[in-house]
């Protein structure tokens, strides 16, 4: 079946512009996660959604970052007034439910470059 998809695969933007990154999770997966991977670093948790519960936003680095998940499916991560330090690969993952026993399936990521 189809895996997690993300678009665009690459995005170059000027400092100060807003960007939107999209994630399409695996159909039927109730949990969706966003992570950020800076150059040569591990993955840093940003936010996750579980069903209709309030999202866990504890990893968002600033109020310039926000995310929503519409209809329990597609998610959009928005970064306002982008800064050069926002340059990174943004990875989305989904799982059947939230929990360690449920594998998180990752998308291919969006590489964001802020010039």
């Amino acid at each position: 079946g189809a895996g997690v998809s993300q678009s665009p695969s690459n995005k170059v933007t000027e400092k100060g512009k807003d960007v939107e990154l999209r994630c399409d999770p695996i159909s039927g997966h109730t949990a969706l996660y966003w992570y950020r991977q800076s150059l040569g670093q591990g993955l840093e948790f940003l936010i996750y959604f579980q069903g209709n519960s309030a999202p866990d936003k504890s990893g968002l680095p600033s109020d310039r970052f926000s995310a929503e998940r519409t209809g329990g499916s597609v998610s959009t991560l928005t970064i306002q007034r982008t800064q050069q330090e926002d340059s990174a690969v943004y990875l989305c993952a989904s799982s059947l439910m939230a929990g360690g026993m449920y594998e998180q399936y990752f998308g291919p990521g969006t590489r964001l470059t802020v010039t």
Partner: protein, 114 residues
């Protein structure tokens, strides 16, 4: 707060040989999960192996096995009969009772040489 540490930024191994990647973690929880993920140059994160902390038996998946030492908070990955396709970044990750998120180590870049 939980932390995951991978102390080997880079490693290399000859094809067909065995290599062990190290991972240590810190937590006060008793029930949790540990994972090894592989990230090839394509950026696609792939789950290699998973270990539940309450299971004493070490997990094994074909050529991949772990050495889980709960008291020492150590979780190493052994790759046997290394293949060129094993060349990738390997990340150790922890899941505890802090919600759905995984906590990742910094990664180990593994090169398999012919």
């Amino acid at each position: 707060a939980q932390t995951v540490t991978q102390s080997q930024p880079e490693m290399s191994v000859q094809e067909a040989e065995t290599v062990t990647l190290s991972c240590t973690y810190d937590t006060s929880e008793n029930n949790y999960y540990l994972f090894w993920y592989k990230q090839p140059p394509s950026r696609q994160m792939i789950l290699v192996i998973r270990q539940e902390a309450y299971k004493q038996q070490n997990a094994t998946e074909n050529r991949f096995s772990v050495n889980f030492q709960k008291a020492a908070k150590s979780f190493s990955l052994k790759i046997s009969d290394s293949q060129l396709g094993d060349t990738a970044m390997y990340f150790c990750a922890f899941w505890g009772n802090q919600g759905g998120k995984l906590i990742f180590g910094q990664g180990t870049e593994l090169s398999v040489k012919p």
